[in-house]
């Protein structure tokens, strides 16, 4: 894929401005049906699209298929949501007046998407913008541009006009041009904390000719913890933690990167965890049995490896799997006795690295769990009703999972997103998601004329 030139970005945005007129006037029902049509096209091409994910992003089979399934869910969920929200709602029921609330598109939406869920996440952001009537300039990650183009093709095939959706290839510099463009009204971003904060800063600067305050919908990182207390079912806790920290080689914002374990089971936990990690099948994601494939590229491999080297200075290495070569593999690695101040306990690594910390009480475990700048996902393995209740009150994350892995949120059932420095608090796949792509207008009419009002 060739990176777009700066003037092409400008063209793309201008074309979207032109396309908006027709797209916003398209009947809501038609836009809804286009999303459903795209879902159906994806279903028909399920194996092929999953194969592309395996090839371009190195996703193991099960997770490639899950990403595709989630993309389909997003299309159908947002279609159903817009069907509900597109009908203006009457507010109040008093005679003599009519008050209606309706949602309208904000304008050109820049979608800046990540590579780790190369279909699901962009499908969610792009389809949310489109169904609400916004034209979209979509920049997939340069690490998954083939899937970005495939998604664009599918949506167009389903009926989205060319000037309502275009796909531009490129890296962060292209994203920045989009964010700064005066005609962009909304930016939907999923990615790292640093890039997200930069986008917010750039978006707050008013460009010449800009007519609207830009809105940034940002989903960012996490430093997610799973607490295991002394009553936990260790079979499930260890399996759940291994899945959560090694799934897609740890390259999920929801991934587990800290395990906080009660002192009384700490050694037993580490012993069984180590063996479970030693049993993981690492290798070519084209093989169906592969549990851990390579990371996305050499840059990621270098960064994760540096964190592991740093961890060896600070903490006790429990296990570091040797990696098959060649390829950008990072062996799943576990450190124990990690202290809250260690960088291992604070920084998002985005790789298969787990920091295990010891807690003397459940209360201490919660304090440790909350002691980062993020608040995305978190988990608790416990069979103590009181501890589970305490976690519900005090574990400050956007998505809290009790007695299950902390990845794999389902559209509609587990709307996903974090707060603090994990994001703006919006929930992808939730009932309040679409409103962010709209302006809400209230129209109030006095229906009383010469003493008469229509009878209702």
């Amino acid at each position: 894929m060739t990176t777009a030139r700066p003037d092409e970005i400008d063209q793309a945005v201008r074309s979207a401005v032109t396309g908006w007129q027709r797209w916003r006037e398209t009947a809501a029902e038609d836009r809804v049906n286009i999303l459903r049509g795209a879902a159906s096209l994806m279903r028909q091409r399920r194996d092929e699209l999953a194969a592309w994910e395996i090839l371009e992003c190195g996703k193991p089979w099960r997770e490639a298929d899950a990403d595709l399934a989630e993309a389909i869910d997003f299309l159908e969920f947002y279609a159903a949501e817009w069907q509900r929200l597109a009908i203006p709602a009457r507010l109040g029921s008093e005679p003599g007046e009519l008050n209606h609330r309706s949602y309208h598109p904000r304008g050109v939406t820049a979608v800046i998407a990540p590579w780790n869920f190369p279909l699901a996440i962009p499908t969610g952001m792009v389809s949310a913008a489109l169904v609400t009537g916004n034209p979209v300039v979509f920049k997939p990650s340069e690490r998954s541009s083939v899937l970005g183009q495939l998604l664009t093709d599918i949506l167009r095939q389903a009926g989205v006009p060319d000037d309502a959706l275009c796909c531009v290839a490129g890296g962060p510099e292209i994203g920045r041009l989009l964010v700064q463009h005066s005609d962009v009204a909304t930016i939907a971003f999923t990615g790292s904390k640093d890039v997200g904060l930069n986008i917010m800063r750039d978006a707050s600067a008013v460009a010449p000719g800009q007519i609207m305050i830009k809105r940034v919908i940002a989903e960012m990182g996490g430093k997610n913890a799973i607490i295991v207390d002394e009553t936990a079912d260790l079979d499930e806790a260890i399996t759940g933690i291994v899945t959560s920290f090694t799934g897609y080689a740890g390259q999920k914002c929801s991934a587990c990167s800290r395990a906080i374990v009660h002192a009384s089971i700490y050694d037993l936990f580490l012993d069984r965890l180590k063996e479970a990690v030693l049993s993981l099948i690492i290798g070519n994601p084209e093989e169906p049995g592969t549990q851990v494939g390579p990371v996305i590229d050499s840059r990621a491999q270098t960064k994760i490896t540096e964190h592991i080297a740093m961890g060896k200075q600070d903490a006790r290495l429990v296990v570091e799997r040797a990696v098959p070569g060649p390829g950008w593999y990072v062996g799943p690695t576990v450190f124990a006795d990690v202290k809250p101040t260690h960088r291992l306990a604070q920084e998002e690594i985005f790789g298969p690295v787990l920091a295990v910390m010891k807690a003397e009480s459940f209360q201490e475990a919660l304090t440790l769990a909350n002691a980062t700048s993020y608040a995305l996902t978190g988990g608790v393995y416990s069979r103590s009703p009181e501890n589970l209740a305490l976690a519900q009150q005090q574990f400050d994350v956007g998505n809290l999972y009790l007695n299950r892995p902390i990845t794999g949120a389902l559209v509609g059932r587990q709307p996903f997103g974090g707060h603090r420095f994990s994001g703006v608090g919006s929930k992808a796949g939730g009932q309040d998601y679409l409103m962010q792509f709209t302006v809400s207008r209230i129209i109030s009419e006095n229906t009383l004329r010469r003493g008469f009002a229509p009878i209702e």
Binding site: E230, D233, D235, V242, E275, L278, S279, I281, R383, S384
Partner: protein, 531 residues
């Protein structure tokens, strides 16, 4: 329609009545007071919220090392009721009325639950189980040992399970060679039957049992199965593959047929697998297996069960939006079981049929079908779970039939999941034993053919919360019925806080004698009403 056809029904009824008479005088131990208080039983039977709390508590108990923590957990799950449940046996009735058992100790609770577990688990080790197994043999009952274990989440744990199997095969053979000969248990229509039988949980052999990777699963499982098989063939001992969750059914059957087609193992006559009647595909699987066995050089054992994973499979499949591969009405499963019984019994030249069930109707149907086919009694065997449905164990043995008990061996912690499953079965609304011994349903009803509009009461027609154990054992045994006042109480949804006031517990304190009723007396009743 039931496969035996209407003509079999009089015979089924006659045999059922005979079995009922033979089972008289015995009580299933499930609700025995030596385990827990009558109040706890009544509560568990009538209040599903309480039952969940109690079973969840029992489930967590063994992993908690600290005795004081056991007491606080009892409080968290059961509130003030905990002292009454676990204190009753320790003479703490008086304390129960007060706030709570300060003196209720973790150790006391642990001891009680351990006793309960021992009724279903033959021993912590083979050595510990030896007297139990020897006693069964003396009573003319065979056994199949199941080694309880935690889930296998690493290769090391897979290796350990393999080694435990090897060790158990050695030890069991050693103890069993000393025993006197019991011809009924050692020979069937196809030849000798080894005294030692081990039931294998295939998922315990590998952390890599994965339906999307059949080839990798096969390699991983078979690498650990080979030494077990080699030893079993040498000793000899029988090996049976247990069936597990629905997702792995096809994989397990494939591993079985592929492995026992290998040149080294295709002549091995003492292998078999369990087949679950609750699965819609089982008839197809059985037909496929029969075709396969014809081309193999030796017979296999087919253990027909209703299936033990109904609840968890149904929940998981529904949760994931997958279409349900299991029958959702209990009556469909029962009907399928009878159809499959007919299939198995008409192919005894190439298979050894084994029937896992604790249901009186099912037992009578198997017996009637076999007799109608003029099969000699050595041709098939009955299987039941150790510690369950003792009256039927007795009846089958007295009838002169071969009975094998599924006998788990293992530590308490991994055994707890097993125990909880048995407890759920025994207290479920679908439980045959509960219907009979607790609810005293008439023998006519209990022996009626499975049919949606048949004699079965309406509430059992739905599969709402059925627990069908691997062995169908729907029937826990208690001769004791709840006191009259309790019986009429509808299932309640009372919260934890109101349990103590519910009246169930008061009846415990008052120690109402409970009326006993046995199948035999009801046989009489039924006859009266029938004439």
């Amino acid at each position: 329609m039931h496969p035996g056809g209407p003509s079999l029904e009089p015979e089924i009824r006659r045999i059922g009545e005979q079995l009922a008479r033979l089972s008289a005088g015995q009580a299933p131990s499930m609700f025995n007071r030596r385990w827990w208080s009558q109040a706890a039983i009544n509560l568990a039977m009538h209040d599903s919220a309480f039952k969940t709390q109690l079973f969840r508590f029992i489930d967590v108990l063994p992993s908690v090392v600290d005795d004081a923590r056991v007491v606080t957990l009892a409080q968290e799950y059961l509130g003030n009721v905990s002292a009454q449940i676990f204190g009753a046996q320790w003479g703490l009735h008086a304390m129960a009325a007060t706030q709570l058992g300060a003196r209720l100790t973790g150790k006391a609770i642990r001891t009680q639950v351990e006793q309960m577990a021992r009724s279903f688990i033959a021993g912590g080790t083979v050595a510990e189980a030896e007297p139990v197994l020897a006693e069964l043999w003396t009573q003319g009952r065979s056994w199949s040992v199941d080694l309880l274990g935690e889930a296998t989440i690493s290769d090391r744990e897979g290796d350990r399970y393999r080694d435990r199997c090897l060790k158990a095969l050695h030890e069991l053979t050693q103890i069993a060679t000393e025993w006197p000969s019991v011809p009924l248990l050692e020979r069937d229509h196809l030849g000798l039957i080894p005294r030692v039988q081990l039931s294998l949980k295939i998922s315990a052999l590998s952390p890599h049992l994965d339906p999307i990777d059949p080839e990798g699963s096969y390699r991983s499982v078979v690498a650990r199965l080979h030494p077990i098989l080699d030893l079993a063939m040498k000793l000899p001992a029988s090996l049976i593959f247990d069936m597990e969750q629905a997702e792995t059914k096809d994989l397990l059957i494939e591993i079985f047929t592929r492995l026992f087609s290998e040149p080294a193992y295709r002549t091995c006559p003492h292998v078999g697998l369990a087949l679950q009647a609750y699965h819609r595909e089982t008839q197809r699987d059985v037909d496929h297996l029969l075709t396969w066995v014809r081309h193999r050089s030796a017979p296999i054992t087919m253990r027909l069960v209703k299936g033990a994973y109904w609840d968890s499979d149904i929940i998981r499949y529904r949760q994931r939006g997958w279409s349900i591969p299991l029958f959702e009405q209990k009556v469909e499963t029962d009907t399928n079981y009878e159809t499959l019984t007919q299939t198995l019994l008409t192919h005894t030249t190439i298979i050894r049929p084994a029937f896992g069930t604790h249901n009186l109707r099912t037992l009578a149907h198997i017996e009637a079908t076999a007799r109608s086919l003029k099969l000699s009694p050595e041709t098939w065997e009955y299987q039941m779970i150790f510690g369950m449905a003792e009256p039927f164990q007795q009846a089958i043995t007295q009838l002169g039939r071969r009975l094998r008990l599924y006998a788990p061996i293992g530590e308490l912690l991994p055994g707890m999941a097993y125990l909880v499953r048995r407890l759920l079965e025994n207290t479920s609304n679908e439980s045959f034993l509960r219907k009979e011994y607790v609810e005293s349903e008439s023998l006519t009803t209990l022996l009626a053919p499975p049919s949606p509009g048949g004699a079965a009461p309406a509430k059992t027609a739905s599969h709402e919360a059925p627990r069908m154990s691997d062995f169908t054992m729907s029937r826990p045994a208690t001769l004791q019925r709840p006191a009259a006042g309790l019986q009429c109480r509808p299932p309640s949804r009372q919260s934890e806080r109101t349990w103590a006031r519910s009246g169930y517990l008061q009846s415990e304190a008052a120690s109402h004698p409970v009326r006993s009723s046995s199948l035999a007396t009801r046989t009489g009743r039924m006859r009266q009403s029938g004439t």
